[in-house]
Each structure stands twice: as C-alpha cells, then as structure tokens.
Amino acid sequence: MSLALLYGLAGIALVAMGLYAALAARHVLRRLLGLNVLGSGVFMMLVALASRTTDIATRPDPVPHAMVLTGIVVAVSATALGLALLRRMHAHDGSPWLPEDRDDDSP
Amino acid sequence: MTGMPWREGLSLALIGAGALFFLAGSIGVLRLPDLLSRLHALTKADNLGLGLVVGGLMLQASGVQEVLKLLLVWLLVLFASSVACYLVARSVTASIAGSATYSGARASDDSPVRPAPAGEPAAGGDGGR
C-alpha cells in the first residue's frame, strides 16, 4: 500500500463521516463540525493524489496543495459566517436547532 | 551529522525520556481527582517533556541556526503554556469563589468547580478597568 492510497482511503472515510454528520445532526454547530470534517476529508484526498509523483520530498504536485490552501481559508470563513448565523438564530428563537428539526423535546 | 554513535544514542534517549514525561502528564490528566491538580500535572510534565524532546532534536540538528530555532520553540511554548495554565487556574478559582460567572462553563462529574447558575449578571465582571 502506498502513502497516497492509505491517506486517500482515510480521506474518503472522513468524507463519509462528515457528510453523515452534516446531514443527520440536528444541532447546527454539529452540522458545521461535520462540514469541516467533510472538507478535511476532501483536502486529504487532494493532497494524497498530489503525493503520487515520483519524489514527494522535493517535487510533489503543487497545484492540489494550492487548492487545499485556498480551501482551508474558504472553509474557515464559511464556518465563521455559519457560526454568526447560528448565534443570531439562537438569540432570536432560543434554540440552536433549525426550525424544521425542532420538536417537543428540543433544547 | 557525522557518525558519532553516542550522539544519536543520547538523542534517542532524550526523546524517549520526553515521551515518557508526556505519557506521565496524560496519565495525570486521566487519573487525578480534580481540575487544579490535573492542570498542574499536565503543564509541568508536558513542558519538561517538550524540553527533553527539543534537547534530543538539537543533537540531531544540522547547524547552529536550527539549534537556536528549536530553543526558541521550547521557550515560547514554555512561556505560553505557563500563562495559559495560570489563566485556566484563575478562572477556576474565580468560579469557585463565586465572583464571576461564565455562561456555558461546564463542570465535569468529579470537579470541584460549580459554575454559578446561568442568567446571573457578572457583578465583578468588568471591574478593575
């Protein structure tokens, strides 16, 4: 097994976990955590694909690295905006769950 | 560097000892009864462990510049983690004394910290400006 395959499979597992949490969780903060883990999984897949060049110590493929750098920054800005919206929703409605998820026993 | 076997052996011994200190600190966090003693064990053991690891790495460094960078790393972590430990301890003792409240403060099951009931305004919160 090569390094790329190991981390590529790990990235796929993170994508699956993050996707499930982002869709299935009800607390919005948990959804945001899920989106972040999903993003990290995608980044891991990209960097693993980039490491398939013959000599990753000195000559890895730089284009996926640049994409992942961009992705990290965009992910944190989206998370920041999402958290601000969560705080606003909680201040307005008193609940950190989305309206369609709330039922009788929501916080 | 040049093959001086004692240098590599000493380096490995130092890094190993550092790892043992980290392990000791982690065991302290898991086994000690309350927040303050856990904080004490963790900070002391981890700082010393990092110092040993950095010492071991210095022996394998490729030049004076790298040695100085490693020393700077250790000093900065020492400084920052000590201040962080102090700040956490201060907030814990302030909570116990009841002089401040933190919304969302969480007490673990066996911790002596009892956060003040939510909703009370912080009386001494912004004083002392």
Partner: protein, 326 residues
C-alpha cells in the same frame, strides 16, 4: 521524508479517524470542539507526511487555531441552553439510516474510483517546476497560488471579504462577561505580539523560496489579534481605516490584474523580470487584509456597553414573542 507507509502513518490515520468521529458524535459539544481542535493539529502532521509543509502551516494556524477559537467562542455565547444537545446526536433513527446508507454508498464509489487510479502519476509537477524560473519565486506552491492560479487567489480574498461582510450585517451581540483584565495576560501579549509580527513578516518573506507565504503570515497575525481581543476587547466598529484595510488586499490584487490586462500580456500574467516584486507587493497587502478579516470574523459585532441598556429590553427571550423583530 520517506515515501513508504510506516507504522507512524497507520497510527496517525487511526487516530485521525477516531478523533474525527468523536468530534462529530460526542454528546457534549465542548468535548466535540476540543476533539476537533486536536484533529486539526494531527491533520497538520498528516500534511507533513504527505510532503505538504505549506498546507501543514496553514492547517495548524487556521484550521485548528482560528476555527477552534471561533467554535469555542460561539459555544460560550450559546450558553448552557444553547450548548445542550440530544444524548445520541448521530444515533441511527429510521430517517438517518437513509443518510447513512447514502454516505456509505458515496464512500464505496470513491473507494472503487481510488483503487483504479495509478500509483504513480506526475500530475502537474513537471510543468509547474519548469515554469518556476519565470514565475518570480522558487517555492512551487507560492508560484501556483500567486502566479499560475492568481485568479483563484484573488477570488479567495473576495470570499473572505464576503464572509466578514456577512458577519457585519448581522445584529450586534452583547459582550460576554469577562474577568477583570489580568497582568499575566498583558505580559504574555507584550512578549508575544512583537514576536508574532516579526515571525509573520518572516513567513511572508520566506514564502518565496521555502514553505510559508501570505496566508500563513496572516494566520499568525490573526492569532495575535485574537489574543489581544481576549485580553482587551477590541471594538472593530465600521471605521474608514478598518474598511480600507479590509479592502486593501483585494484592491491591490485587482489593480495589478487590471494593469496587466491593460498594459501587459493579459489578466494577471506577470512580466518575468518584475514577477517577484509584484508577487511580494500583492502578498504584503493581502497579508494585512486577511489578518484583519480573520480578527474581525472572530470579534464579530459586539454591542458597545452604552447600548446595552436599550438592547437588553429588546433582546428579551424570544421564546415568549418569537415574532418580535430585532
């Protein structure tokens, strides 16, 4: 760095997957966030193992540091009621089983696709490295970010601006109760902030020929700004200077793009002899902007103490009157 799988990699992958799952499934959200921060730090190790030190720097500072600070701050503001969640937040209910199957199906497809890919693939490494002398820098990642794919980076800075705009549009929030300012925190800042500025400048400069660059430097400056705000709250009100700095990075980048489109060989194609200097100017402006934007994202919009009296009347628990507009 060996390119062969070692025991370290297996241990790291297992830890990453376990921590990732715990970060998502822990019922206590505080624990989940802490596990997420540790996950981010271990992820930096994974980037180093995969030969991506620039990404490792950014992940440690932004992905673990800044994102962790944002999450913890939000958790504190949500309070006891807002941070509570159900006992098994990701437990399988009939509704969630469908989602779980879909996620597993996607994973299976991706695994099947991954197994068909060749083990060695040159990718774009050769063309990127061949054009490096003409790009103005000698770090291939910096060359890609600021020369080959400069358009993407320009838009990325635009995305950051949109995010901070979104945060500023929202209603101002009451400030968190804080302990009195502590002399130790002041000491920490007096020692760390000048060092932070020096190291950020160093990262900006060294990014041209070694791992580093504008984003990593900006993340470091942002960390310093967040520390400052925690010690002595900043009020980043909508002043002209603030807006100017926020816009500066995007404006300089766009100006260079327009100049190259009008005078030179096309949008954002830098002439060979000036490429290095142009990249440095863009990076310096971008670093200042991005650092301030990240601090602004953390600080948010805090209601000034003078407004607190009036605001408390209108911020009455909305559970009793959910239709009340702010």
């Amino acid at each position: 760095m060996a390119a062969e799988v070692q025991v370290f990699d297996a241990v790291l992958v297992v830890l990453l997957l376990w921590l990732g799952w715990r970060a998502l499934a822990s019922a206590d959200l505080f624990k989940a966030v802490v596990q997420f921060i540790v996950f981010g730090l271990l992820l930096s190790l994974a980037w180093v193992r995969l030969g991506a030190p620039d990404v490792a720097l950014a992940e440690a500072a932004i992905g673990a540091g800044l994102a962790g600070a944002l999450l913890l701050d939000t958790l504190a503001r949500l309070g006891r009621s807002g941070a509570a969640d159900e006992a098994r937040p990701l437990g399988l209910t009939p509704a969630r089983t469908g989602i779980a199957l879909a996620a597993l199906g996607l994973a299976a497809l991706l695994v099947a696709a991954a197994l068909t890919l060749p083990e060695r693939w040159p990718g774009l490494a050769e063309p990127a490295l061949q054009q490096l002398p003409a790009s103005g820098v000698s770090n291939p990642v910096t060359a890609t970010l600021l020369n080959y794919r400069a358009w993407d980076t320009l838009l990325e800075i635009g995305v950051l601006m949109l995010a901070v705009l979104g945060v500023w549009i929202l209603e101002a929030e009451p400030a968190l109760p804080r302990l009195a300012p502590d002399p130790m925190l002041g000491l920490l800042l007096r020692v760390l902030l000048p060092l932070t500025v020096i190291v950020a400048g160093y990262l900006l400069w060294v990014g041209a020929h070694a791992p580093g660059g504008a984003f990593q430097g900006a993340a470091l400056l942002a960390a310093g700004g967040v520390l400052w705000h925690l010690a002595r709250p900043l009020s980043l009100g909508p002043s002209l200077v603030l807006r100017a700095i926020v816009v500066l990075g995007f404006a300089v980048f766009l100006a260079v793009g327009v100049a190259t489109a009008v005078l030179g060989g096309g949008l954002l194609s830098f002439p060979r002899e000036h490429a290095g200097a142009i990249i440095l100017v863009i990076e310096a402006a971008a670093m200042l902007s991005i650092a301030l934007i990240m601090v602004a994202l953390f600080v948010g919009r805090v209601r000034a103490p003078s407004e607190t009296g009036a605001a408390e009347a209108e911020a009455a628990p909305a559970a009793s009157n959910p239709g009340a507009a702010p």
